[in-house]
Symmetry: D3
Subunit: 247 residues, 6 copies
C-alpha cells in the first residue's frame, strides 16, 4: 500500500491494523560515469514497492539526502544536515498526529546515516526535555547492509563492490529500469578508495565519482537477485521492528 | 530527461545547451474521501514527464509540501514553512553550483505558493545582503492555474471544481494511474467553501476534506485532456521563462 | 484606539468587547526619485489611524518588511523572510496570551505578502503538529488592493499606476505629510515593467527604482480620496473578518 | 532627517557627508496602571526627532523589544531574544550595503540591552569567523541613562523614580502626547522592587506592573526638561561615537 | 560536590536538600602575551571548587564562551551568541527536568554577560509565551565583580588592572597552576584602552591582546587572596540567591 | 600541550610545526548506580592528557554531549543535536581562523557519534555549497573503540562490558580519580540490553541506568591498562590522521 495512492479513509483503516510505516530515503547524487543520479533513491523505493505489495504502508520517497561531498559533479543535490533533520522531524511529527508510532526509514545512501540518526535524537530530545514520554520508535534500515544483500554482493563482486557507485546498487537500478542498463568499460577498472571530505576534495581524489567500485561488473540479471535479497532483508527487519514483540 | 535517471556526464552535456531545470513540487495530503493523498505531487510530476520527453531536465519531485491544515486527516504530512524554505534553498543552491540558473518549480498545491515564494526571496536576499549579484532566476508555475487548464476546468465542471480535491486534479491522477479511477457518489454533493486556518478548524468546517468541489464529476477521459492542456501551459510558460529573451 | 497610547487596564477593557486587533505592516524601501522611503509603512499606518478612530485597537506599525530587491538603492532595509516570519510569529503569540484571537495585518507592501502568509502558516502549523486546536485567525489585508482603492486608482491614473512607486501610494503619503508633496517631472515618464529578482538585477532593470509607474501624476488632493477609499475598504474587510459571523 | 520621509537620492546625498544613523528602539509593554504601553518606544523616538532636526539621519523606530516578563499584562508584546537579534542583524546589514558604518541604537527599554548587545556580537562574529575585517561600529545608547537625564530624575524624584514605569519616562511621553497626561493617585504609592524573571512571576510580585516607581509624581512640565536633557545627552554621545575621532 | 564526579543516586539525594546548582562559565581566548588562554574558565572553575567543598553542587565548566573579538589571536575560540544561547538553554532545561530550579552561572568573562542574560530571557520567554509559570531562577555572577575581589584588585593594582588580561585574573590562574607563574616584563607597560568591535579591529588597536592592563604586576601570592575573596563573594551571592528567602 | 594553559604566542609557535589539534568530547550523563556522571568526558580527557604530554595540542574538553535518553536520571544533561552541531561548528571554524586544519575529536560517548559526524558534514557543506575548497579535515576517534582497548575489554570482561556504564570506562575513571573507586555489588548482576529511544522509555527498560554491563567487575588496576591502551590507540590514529601522508 502506497500512501501517495491511498485515500485518507484507507489510511484510517490501515491504522486500525498497524501503526507502522516505511519511508524510503535516498539521495540525488552522481554515481560514477555510468550510474544513475537517482540510484540511492531508486534502490530503496524499489524494495519498498515490494513491502507495499506485502501490505505495509509506504510513504513518499525522500529523494534528496545529505550529499555535500558529491557537489563537484553535475546534477548532485544536497540538503545540509540541519535541513534534512528538519525534514525528517516534520515527516515523523506529522504522521504521529494520525497515530503512527513505528517509522522505518529504508535508506539507500551511507551519507544519510549520521544525519538521520541525529534527526531521530532531535525528535526524542523534544520529548525528553519536555518531560514527556514518547511513543515514537524510529529506525533506519540500510537496504545495502542487510545480511542477504551483503552475502550476494560478496558472492558476485567480492571487494570490487567498493563503497560508492557499487555494482550492487547499479544492478538494482537496472532491475527497476531495465532500459537503462549499459555495458560500458571504465578506466581505471578500480578507482581509489579513501576518506570523504568536502566536494572539492572528493572530486580531486575520486575524479570520476566512484570510490573503490567496479560498477561495470553489474549485470541486469543481478538486479532481480538484489531486489529479492533486499526485500527479504527489509521485510524481516521491518517485521521485527514493528512487531508486537518489538523490544 | 529525468535527473534521477541520468548520469553526471549526461547532466554535464545538458548544461552546455541549457541551464534550466524543472522541479515538480507537490504535497502529501488528504484529497477528500476519494482523491489520492499524493494528488498534488502526482499532477505536476505527470506533466513534468511530458516536459522531460520534450528534452527539458526534470529534477526529483518534492512530494511533501506545506499542508498543515490537512493534518486532521490520516496520512497527511506537512513541512513547516521554515523547513520547506530550507529545502527549496538547498535544492536551488546545490544546482546553482553546477551552473543551473533557471529554476522552474512546477507546483500542484496552493498551500505551497506563499512559502516557496518566500523561499525564493530568502535565496535572493542572501545575495542582496552580501552585495553580490545573483544570476538565479526562480519561478513557480502552478499547473492548475494555466490558461488552458482553467478553461478546460470551467468547461467541464464550472464552479463545481471548487478549491480542494477538485475534479480537475483528480481526473489528472486517473490519467497517471488509470487503475485507481473510481465512480463514487459523495454526500453532500457540494461541500462548503471558506477560509483555511489550522488543522482542527479545517476538519471541523470541511468534514470530509473537500472544499467546494465535486470530485465525482471527474472522468478518466478528462484526465488525458488535463494532461495535454497542462503540458501545453507548462511548456509555454517554461520556455518563456527559460528562453534567451527571458526578461 | 492605539495600543501604544493605551494603558494595560484600557487594553483589558477593550478585550471585553473585542479580541481583534489591526497591525499595520509596511516596508522601508526606495520609492523612486520622489517617493518616500517609508511610503509602504505610512500608507497603512495612515489608514489604520482611521480605524483607531472607529474604536478598533491598532498595534504598533511594523515599519520594516521584506524588501531585499530594493537594497540597490540607499536607505532601503530588508528583513530576510525568515526574520519577518519570526517577528510576525512573536507578535501574534504575544497578543494571543492576552486573549486576542483576530489579527488583521493591514499591509502596504506587495513584497510582504508571501512571507506574512508563510508566517501565518508557521503559526498554525505549530498548533496542527501539536494536535492542538488553535483559536487564532489571521488575515492580511492590502490597503492598495481594496475594491474602492483600485477603482479610484484606475479612474485617476489608468495603467500609469504601475506596480512600484505608484501615484496612488504617493498621493496617500502626501495626505499624511502635506509638506512633503512635490511637483517634479520624471524622465522617462514611464519606466519599464518586469519581474523582480535580487537587488542588483532590480537596479539594473529599474534604474530609478520605479516599476511601470508615473508617480508625478499624484496630486495632494488625490491623497484624501485614497485615504477615504482605503479606510472604507479596510473597515469593511476588517468587520467581516472580525465579526461574530466571521466564517 | 527621517529615513522614512526621505527619498533614496536624499539618502545618497546624506551618505556623502555622514555614514552614521540613529535607530530608535523601544518596547511595547505595560507601564503600570497609568503609563502608556508604547512608553519605551515613544521616549527614544521623541528624542531622536530632535536629533533629526539637528541633521542626523533617524531610521524607523523598532517599536517592539524584548519584554517577555511583561506578558502577564494585556497589550504587552515581546520578541524572543533570538528574533530581536535577527531583526537588529538584518537592519544593520541592510544599511551597511549602502555604506552606513555607524549605528547608534537609541534605546528606551532596559530589557533590550543584553539582547541588542548580543546582536552586535553576532554581527561582528560573522566577520571575525569569516576572517573579514568589519567596518561596522554599533553602539546602544540608553536615553534614560545619560548624565543629564539621571541628574534630572534624581533632582525631581529621588529614589521614587524606581525602575519600571518611572515618572521620568512617563513625563517624557506627556511631552510627546500632552493630551494623554493624567493626574491619578496610585495605591500603593510605592510598589515593591526586586528581580525580574518570567511573566507569571512578574505579575505575582508586581501586581500593577510598576517596579519601585511613583509615576504619579510626573508632571507634564517635567517632560520638556527630560526631552532637553535627553537630547543633549544623546547628541553628545552620538557625536562622540560618530565623530572623525571616534575611537 | 562536583556533578561530574557524582553518581546519579548522589544527585538524587542532593536534590532532596537543594535544587540549586553552580555552573562555571568562561572562555577560551588570548589573555595577552603571558596570560593563559583558559584564564576565564580556570578562574570561575577554581572558585567553584571551593563552593563544591562547601557542599554546593557544581556542574561541568562551560569552557568556551563568546569571544569573537579575540579571534585575531591564535588559540582563541568563540561561540556565536546564538550558539551560546542554545547551549545555556539546553543545560538549564536538562537540569530542570530533574527538579533543579536555581541556576547560578559563575562567570569569568565579560564578553559572556550580554549573551547569557539574553539566553535567560529566551528561556523565560518560552514559558511566558506559552502562558506557563516558570519556576526557574537564573543568575549570572561575575567572580571578578564581587565586592571583595574588586576591593582587592584596587588595593593591589589600582587602575593597572585594566579590563582584559588583568593581573587579578592572572594571579588567580597562578593560584590554580603555580607552575605556570612567570615574571615577565611587557612592553608597553600599559597598553591602550578602548571599545571592542570585531576581531580585526581588536588586533589592530590592542596588538598584544591586553586592554589597559599590566598583568606583570600579578604575583603568585596574590592568587590565593583572590581565591579567598572570590570564594567569599561567590558564596555570599549564591546563598542569597538560592536561599529560602531568595526573593 | 594544553590550549587552556598556553599563551597565544605559544599557540602561534605550535602552528609552525603542526596544524592539528585534539578536542576531547564527552557527555554529562548517568553511568549507572556507581559510575560517575562525567565518565564520558573524563575518559577522553584523561587519554588526551597523555597526547598533550606527547606534544600534541589538546583543546578544552566539550563535557556535555547528546544524551537525551539519559534525562530520566538526575544530573544528566543533554544538548539537542542541533545545539551540539552549532557548538562543534563554531569550535572548528574559530580554530580554522588561526590556521588549524586537522581536528581530531577524541570521543567518550556513543551518543555523540551521529551528531558530531552530522556536524562535520554541515561544516563541509558550507564550503561545498559556496563552491569553496575546504582544507579542513575532521575526524572523530572513539577511545573505547580502538583496537587495543577493545582487546583489553574483551580479555578482562568478555561480554560483561555491555554497552553503557561499562567496566572499561569506569576503570579508566578510577585511574583518573583513584579516590572514587568503589567495590559495590549491583543487582541484577547483568542488566538488560536493547534499543535506545527517549528518556522515559530508557528509564523504563534500564531502571538503574546500565545497559548490559557489569561495572562492578572494574578494578582500579585495570584503569591504568585502559589508559595505556587508549593512549596508544589514540596516538596511532591521530598520527595517521594528522601526518603528512594523511590521505
Ligand atoms: Ni549510492
Ligand atoms: Ni490538490
Ligand atoms: Ni510601495
Ligand atoms: Ni519603560
Ligand atoms: Ni579574562
Ligand atoms: Ni559512557
Amino acid at each position: 500500500m502506497f500512501l501517495q495512492r491511498a485515500t485518507w479513509p484507507e489510511v484510517e483503516s490501515y491504522l486500525e491494523r498497524s501503526t507502522g510505516i516505511v519511508v524510503p530515503i535516498g539521495s540525488t547524487e552522481q554515481h560514477g560515469p555510468t550510474g544513475l543520479i537517482g540510484t540511492d533513491a531508486i534502490c530503496p523505493e524499489t524494495i519498498a514497492a515490494g513491502m507495499a505489495e506485502a501490505g505495509i504502508l509506504v510513504g513518499p520517497t525522500l529523494s534528496i539526502g545529505m550529499a555535500q561531498h558529491h557537489l563537484g559533479f553535475p546534477g548532485s543535490i544536497t540538503l545540509r544536515p540541519s535541513t534534512l533533520m528538519a525534514l525528517v522531524g516534520d515527516v515523523v511529527t506529522s504522521l504521529s498526529v494520525h497515530g503512527f508510532t513505528h517509522f522505518y526509514f529504508l535508506n539507500g545512501h551511507g551519507g544519510n546515516i549520521a544525519t538521520v540518526n541525529a534527526a531521530f535524537a532531535e525528535i526524542w530530545a523534544q520529548a525528553s526535555l519536555a518531560q514527556r514520554s514518547s511513543d515514537l520508535r524510529m529506525k533506519m534500515g540500510n537496504w545495502f547492509a542487510g545480511q542477504r544483500v551483503r552475502a550476494l554482493a560478496r558472492e558476485l563482486y567480492g571487494d570490487a563492490d567498493g563503497s560508492h557507485a557499487t555494482p550492487s546498487e547499479i544492478a538494482l537500478t537496472w532491475h527497476a529500469y531495465p532500459d537503462l542498463a549499459r555495458d560500458e568499460a571504465l578506466d581505471p577498472v578500480r578507482p581509489p578508495d579513501g576518506p570523504i571530505r568536502d566536494a572539492a576534495d572528493y572530486r580531486k581524489h575520486f575524479p570520476d565519482g566512484r570510490i573503490g567500485s567496479e560498477p561495470h561488473r553489474a549485470k541486469p540479471e543481478h538486479g532481480k537477485r538484489f531486489y529479492e535479497a533486499g526485500l527479504a532483508d527489509a521485510l524481516e527487519d521491518y517485521r521485527r521492528f514493528a512487531g508486537a514483540d518489538s523490544r
